[in-house]
Symmetry: C2
Subunit: 340 residues, 2 copies
DNA sequence: TTGTAAGCGTTATCAC
DNA sequence: GTGATAACGCTTACAA
């Protein structure tokens, strides 16, 4: 079945031309006579020839491939970033190859090596978990753009969403609805959680309201547990800012179980605008990052490096937007404690 | 930043040996003196040398890479299959590179070409949407295993889960609980839907019960709409077999909205055991496919072809298992219509 | 417009 | 053990 594949020489012989001419035809050079072009194409078709990407890269000493590392295939979050990157890459004539390390540093490191061993034109790392040193190392070999990971390495460009602004968006939304007792469920050791917490705290201060952070996790269980603790503590609150959508859904479940209505009694917001938040019977108010644009931007940033248009590190920060749905509304009663 | 990368020659010069020796060291050949090996390794480290995968593949005329096409990055379903394939590939000394076509035939076709242009040792296609001819064509060039896609091409191996058995599992479970009025929400044009429907119908017949298929879709909205129609029709039913988890969740929502309790009034089951079904406040009874094993099996199947151990097409069919959760239970009242 | 020949960075086959 | 030298399949000046 898998016999020897035809090479350019085979095509050349069959078409009765030189290999160089076949090469020109394959690369769609305009300076080939239509007649020759036809016969070469015909010969190629008959033989089932298709160019050998590796040999091509080797000979031309330039790569047409873009390596993209997805930290976690389980997270559909990255799919849209890849789509954006994919589209931009195609427009630039680059082919994307993907790798994944399942959010494990050792595997991810191996994948980065695999990807770079193909001598790609560049590397885009989506939310990588490897130490900064590994990324910097890769950057000495090929342009690297880190997406959704802050990094101050001078050789590495970054594209991030503004998690601080996103958290503020939620707080503003809730305060605008009349809430004053807004609790933030913290994401713990997650990379983004510190930033989101900071945004929450700053926004609360800006509104002259006391911030209240309850430790939690980026999981459903974490959200549920945090709400259980809050309820047990007897502390009053009318709105919850979840660490992410999953966490917020956990909170939702715990509130329901406690007999509280959302948003009549308590408003809940998430973060990430995942498919989960969009579910009809969830309808979670959340924050959306411009994911596709982030993917495109990552490629564009890479191209600038490739073209030498820019040599200083790029630090792109994109603005998220609020997606109001059904889990947020006015607080249950006029809150007279405000301003005290 | 991106200066010329050191080559084997550079390392050889620095270590004061021939290029061939460096090659041997890089490939961990045992017939190199420890002293030489050390100096070569040292030189390589100092230079930051790492082998050029493409040149290597070209020269050795054998590929160490395995191309994996993921039809849809949005679907975490594939993540586990990839993990299984990944692990098996690593054990076999293969590197995995991924491609995705976003479930669009044209893109997918391009990706298959990209992947094959790297002359991989083999190709694994996860639920591909391209026409069979494209897959068969690829198979003339490199061994191909199609996963989650039935195909009778002699050159292509397949790995599938037994959707018929899976649907039967659900029916058996429900009938075992005492249900007799079990309705199947059909997945429409989805590849797997015909098989699941067949399994449902066969199982119902086996139990001497009348099958009832309501057209629907692999979406939440589809599930909700189907239930709305069913309810409006006034037809009695006590259990619903969803086309997939998303569809079942839609059904869940519509039932709740109609004031029906799950599973007290109606039992609902899904299919796929997605993260969604595992959510605490969903707790959907569903069917799980051995995804990781499917990934491993795909690689093993490929290896058989590579080693020439097998030349006839493999048709692996794996058995799914039932995951009972909270959305299924006994029917509301002893159903006296049974056996009539 | 087409052909010739010299690489590209490896591996592999031999002699030494 | 070690080191020339010829592939591998292609691109790319440079000639013709």
């Amino acid at each position: 079945m898998t016999t020897r594949r035809p090479t350019m020489d085979d095509v050349a012989v069959r078409a009765g031309v030189s290999r160089a001419l076949v090469s020109l035809v394959m690369r769609e050079s305009p300076r080939v006579s239509p007649a020759r072009r036809q016969s070469v194409l015909a010969a190629a078709a008959e033989l089932g020839y298709s160019p050998h990407a590796m040999a091509r890269a080797l000979a031309s000493r330039e790569s047409r491939v873009l390596g993209v590392l997805i930290s976690d295939l389980h997270n559909p979050y990255f799919a849209e970033i890849v789509e954006g990157a994919d589209a931009a890459a195609r427009e630039a004539g680059l082919e994307v190859i993907l790798g994944t390390g399942n959010r494990r540093a050792a595997e991810e490191r191996r994948r980065i090596e695999t990807l770079t061993s193909f001598r790609p034109a560049g590397l885009i790392l989506l939310s990588p978990v490897v130490p900064a040193a590994v990324i910097e190392q890769a950057a000495t070999v090929t342009p690297v753009v880190a997406v959704e990971r802050t990094l101050d390495a001078p050789g590495v460009d970054t594209v991030n969403d503004d998690g601080e602004a996103g958290a503020a968006l939620v707080v503003d939304h809730l305060v605008g609805l009349g809430h004053t007792r807004v609790v933030h469920l913290d994401g713990g050791r997650g990379a983004k959680s510190a930033i989101r917490r900071r945004g929450y705290v700053a926004a609360m201060h800006r509104h002259g309201l006391p911030p209240r952070v309850e430790p939690s996790e980026y999981t459903e269980e974490g959200g549920a547990a945090a709400v259980a603790r809050l309820l047990a503590g007897g502390e009053p609150f009318t709105a919850l800012v979840g660490a992410n959508d999953l966490n917020a859904v956990g909170a939702l479940g715990a509130l329901e179980e406690a007999g509280l209505r959302v948003p009549a009694d308590v408003s809940v917001a998430g973060y990430d605008n995942t498919a989960l938040s969009r579910l009809l019977h969830v309808g979670l108010t959340t924050v959306d990052q411009p994911r596709e644009r982030m993917g495109r931007l990552a490629v564009e940033t890479l191209l600038e490096r490739l073209r030498g248009t820019r040599t200083v590190p790029a630090r792109h920060v994109l603005h998220p937007s609020l997606v109001p749905r059904r889990t947020t509304g006015r607080p249950p009663a006029p809150d007279v404690t405000a301003g005290r």
